[in-house]
């Protein structure tokens, strides 16, 4: 009995209309744009973010070791899943693209399962392009040993500029 009631309830979010708020228009220079299967568009078919918009999303900080720095470094930024939610993403697969044309496929499941950051601060300081900025996808390597592999290191796109939701 309980189960039968619950099932339609679980389906509700999918049927309900999307939240009334829409993604506001960026005021500063665009640092990240989400294309493809996104609903909350604010520029053409894309959902674009300036640094302030990313800063307004819930922020998370953690320090972790990475192959790129000798010491553990502290990364701060919104969670990738929050960014995707803000863009109304409804795809299964992401393709992250960097300023240097680096591309890498990231399953949406990664963002759901792990606290994947769209880091915008390194040791509480903004990252310039020459220091892998302005955005850096970071996995919580120190929290989960299984993440410490070439596969996940390759998914850490730095100088991130766009995500295509597929």
């Amino acid at each position: 009995m309980q189960r039968r009631k619950l099932l339609p309830l679980a389906a509700l979010p999918w049927l309900a209309p999307w939240p009334a708020w829409a993604l506001e228009a960026p005021e500063g220079p665009v640092v990240l744009s989400l294309n493809g299967r996104v609903r909350q568009t604010n520029r053409g078919a894309s959902a674009v973010f300036d640094m302030a918009m990313l800063e307004r999303l819930p922020q998370l900080s953690y320090a972790t070791r990475t192959p790129w720095y000798a010491r553990p470094r502290k990364f701060t930024g919104p969670l990738l899943r929050d960014v995707l939610a803000a863009a109304g993403s409804h795809g299964e697969q992401l393709r992250a693209m960097a300023l240097n044309d680096y591309r890498v496929e990231i399953p949406v499941a990664d963002a759901q399962r792990h606290d994947v950051l769209v880091a915008r601060l390194l040791d509480d300081k903004p990252m310039p392009v020459r220091d892998k900025g302005p955005l850096f996808i970071i996995y919580p390597f120190d929290q989960n040993a299984s993440l410490r592999s070439a596969l996940y290191y390759s998914r850490c796109a730095w100088q991130l500029k766009a995500i295509e939701v597929q």
Partner: protein, 763 residues
């Protein structure tokens, strides 16, 4: 006779079994340890591999190398963009390309890249050139530019950048080679570990196989053990069945024997009733003869049963004494000669002249065995000769043996029959033969006796060709002595007053008649209480002479013999000191012991033969009165008298010593000397009785010791031997045997005294 031998194989194999199990368990432990060590080694190698892999993951050399390659790509892209800038200045793309290039260059400065690319001097130079270019370009494209990039400056930067072309490529190639080298090295390591892993696996396999092999062996040995146990169980079952069969045989024997005992008894009773009903019938003599035959048959049967019972109960004691061997053999042959002659058989003695003339044996028992063997030979032979061969033999251990062979020309027996021959209650012949003679116990008894003597009895036979029965015992030569005859019977000084306490009227009459025959006066009472009263009454009345002896049946109504004796001993002297001899048919139990403990002087077995009674009276009271005109009673005793007390007493006197003593003391001194000695010896006997009653073996031993030395000095070897035996075995013999030995000592003392009197040695 012998119970089925317990299977010996299981006992023999068990220690080997245990050793095997121990060896197996040691192997088990070794293999187990080996297995454990291998597993640990395998675990160690795997742990090492895991660490190595983790190290690789942490270093991420491969990925870092990829990033470094991108330095070159970004370098090329920056150069391209800078060339475009020279042609068409003002593109924002240059700034981005430059920043990306710088970010890539920064990677080369990171610790890990340093570790990956241990720069040589060339690499150092390249890095310095790159750094100086970045410093120069930062003037226009850094975070804090000094001014906009002019086309001239761009051209200058481009030419500076183009000089990096070769060195950067060289650097990347080097990085590539180093990474490749690392990968190769790691692969080699992994291969090495794999090899070790493989070896360990192979070893593990071998160990497991070994383990399995041992387990299999263990299982087999368990299976073997189980099989053996099953076998053992089978054997036990067989043994039980055999034991049950033996028990059945015994029951059957009892049934048969009861019947057989009844048959001669019926004959006896029948004949006696005929005589009683018609006392004047001229055929009475025949009837009495038949009654006598029946009685003798009955006595033989009962004697056999009693012998076997004693042998089985272990209460039969051998009484070895010096014996004239030739005389003994002649006697046995003489006893059987009529039987052999009646069947037309010749009976021969073939004695080895090398045999010592006198040997130390229990004459009664040796005679019994030989009699039995010869009687059997006669019974089963219809024609031909029976030979008794006596010779000396040496056994495997070098012990000299006295060996007798009885060979016949009879029907012979097959192997199975020979095997069954020595069992109790079995006979070689068919049941009809039972009528003829014997209890079927003869051979079983003979073999037991032979073994008791330290020898054996065996049979060899061929059907139709006759049999040879071989009987041997250790040969112990005895000293030559001319004075060997048992003391001759002489007449006693007076008639004895004997009180007979016996409840059975027939036995009462028998005893009274027997005593009367021997010239004594018997007073008969029915029980122990009457005996006591009669004794007291007789002591009170001065008219009649007091009793010399009480013959006391042990089992009586009202008051039994033991209680009566105890009560009697409590009376004041002289009544309390009258000589009491108990009569009992008990062969078992502690009757004898109880009697002696109650103060009875001697225990005699029932029925008492005239010879035994005469010997008893002689021992106790000197030579009895010979009844007028009675030249010994008819054969109330069987040829081989088995009362056990009338064994020969040879060697009573040693003439050589006697002569010495006579020479020393002079004719006048001798009687005093011997009289004193006998007083002492008889006193010692009394003290031995006391010691026996008090279970004081030490006192007993001391008494015996005193007598022993004196007896030897006076030339009384038999007495010395009896005393010596008491002295030697007082501490070890069981009470009943000790009592018997004391009794034996008393008998010998009495006999020796009689003999000495005859020799005129006593006052």
């Amino acid at each position: 006779m012998t119970p089925p031998a317990p299977p010996a194989l299981s006992v023999a194999t068990r220690p080997a079994n245990d050793a095997g199990a121990m060896r197996l368990s040691v192997w088990f432990s070794i293999t187990g340890l080996l297995l454990l060590a291998t597993l640990l080694a395998a675990a160690f190698v795997q742990a090492r591999q895991y660490t190595l892999l983790n190290l690789t993951v942490q270093h991420q050399d491969d990925y870092l190398a990829l990033n470094l390659y991108q330095v070159e790509i970004e370098y090329l892209r920056l150069r391209e963009q800078l060339r475009k800038e020279v042609d068409a200045p003002g593109s924002p793309a240059l700034q981005l390309r430059y920043d990306i290039f710088v970010s890539r260059v920064a990677l080369m400065h990171s610790d890990r890249a340093q570790r990956l690319l241990t720069y040589g001097e060339d690499a150092e130079a390249v890095m310095q050139t790159v750094d100086s270019f970045v410093r120069r370009a930062d003037l226009y494209l850094g975070s804090d530019p000094r001014g906009p990039l002019s086309p001239q400056a761009a051209a200058a930067l481009l030419s500076a950048l183009e000089t990096l072309d070769g060195p950067i490529h060289q650097l990347m190639l080097e990085a590539s080679h180093r990474v490749a080298g690392r990968v190769t090295e790691r692969q080699a390591q992994v291969r090495h570990h794999n090899r070790i892993g493989l070896a360990l696996t192979a070893f593990l396999l071998a160990a497991v196989l070994l383990f399995a092999g041992i387990a299999l062996r263990q299982m087999r040995s368990l299976e073997e053990r189980r099989r053996r146990q099953a076998e053992l169980a089978d054997q036990l079952r067989d043994a039980r069945i055999e034991a049950e069969a033996a028990n059945d045989a015994k029951s059957e024997f009892l049934a048969d024997m009861s019947h057989e005992l009844r048959t001669p008894l019926h004959g006896l009773l029948g004949m006696l009733s005929l005589v009683k009903d018609s006392p004047r019938d001229p055929r009475a003599t025949d009837w009495l003869g038949a009654a006598d035959d029946s009685a003798q048959h009955l006595q033989r049967l009962i004697d056999d049963i009693i012998d076997l019972s004693k042998l089985e109960a272990g209460t039969l004691t051998l009484l070895p004494a010096p014996v004239d061997l030739a005389t003994l053999l002649r006697e046995v042959l003489a006893l059987l000669q009529p039987l052999a002659a009646a069947k037309g058989l010749s009976l021969r003695l073939d004695s080895d002249p090398a045999l010592p003339a006198r040997v130390q044996i229990d004459a009664t028992r040796v005679r019994q065995v030989l009699y039995n063997l010869l009687a059997n030979a006669i019974k089963f032979s219809e024609a031909g000769a029976i030979v008794l061969r006596a010779r000396q033999r040496i056994d495997a251990d070098g012990v000299p043996l006295l060996a007798f062979d009885v060979s016949d020309t009879g029907i012979g027996m097959d192997g199975d029959t020979v095997l069954r021959l020595f069992r109790r209650f079995s006979r070689a012949d068919d049941p009809r033969a039972r009528r003829q003679d014997g209890s079927g116990l003869g051979l079983a008894i003979s073999r037991k006796l032979a073994r008791l003597m330290g020898g054996d009895l065996q049979a060899q036979s061929t059907p139709g060709a006759g049999s040879v029965f071989s009987f041997w015992c250790p040969l112990r030569p005895a000293a030559e002595s001319p004075l060997t005859q048992a003391p001759a019977l002489a007449t006693a000084a007076r008639a004895l007053q004997v009180l007979v306490a016996e409840d059975h009227p027939v036995n009462q009459r028998y005893m009274a008649a027997l005593l009367a025959r021997l010239g004594h006066h018997a007073t008969v009472v029915d029980n122990g209480l009457e005996a006591l009263q009669t004794l007291q009454a007789r002591a009170a009345g001065a008219a009649v002479p007091a009793f010399d002896l009480v013959l006391m049946d042990v089992h009586m109504p009202v008051m039994d013999g033991v209680d009566a004796a105890a009560a009697l001993r409590a009376l004041p002297p002289p009544i309390g000191q009258v000589c009491v001899v108990a009569l009992t048919a008990d062969v078992y139990g502690d009757t004898r012991e109880r009697c002696l403990a109650a103060g009875i002087d001697e225990v005699a077995s029932k029925p008492m033969s005239s010879v035994a009674l005469r010997a008893l009276l002689e021992r106790r009271f000197g030579n009895p009165v010979a009844a007028p005109g009675t030249p010994g009673l008819p054969a109330l005793d069987s040829p081989a008298d088995r009362s056990g007390h009338s064994g020969e007493l040879p060697g009573l006197l040693d003439t050589a010593t006697l002569h010495t003593v006579r020479d020393l003391m002079g004719p006048a001194g001798v009687p005093t000397l011997y009289g004193g000695f006998f007083a002492q010896a008889e006193d010692a006997a009394r003290r031995m009785r006391d010691a026996l009653r008090d279970a004081d073996t030490e006192a007993l031993r001391r008494c015996a010791h005193t007598v022993k030395g004196a007896a030897l000095n006076l030339g009384l070897p038999a007495l010395a031997q009896a005393a010596s035996r008491l002295n030697r075995e007082a501490g070890t013999l069981a009470a009943p045997h000790l009592a018997l030995a004391v009794q034996r000592y008393e008998e010998i003392t009495a006999a020796t005294r009689t003999l000495c009197e005859g020799e005129g040695l006593l006052p």
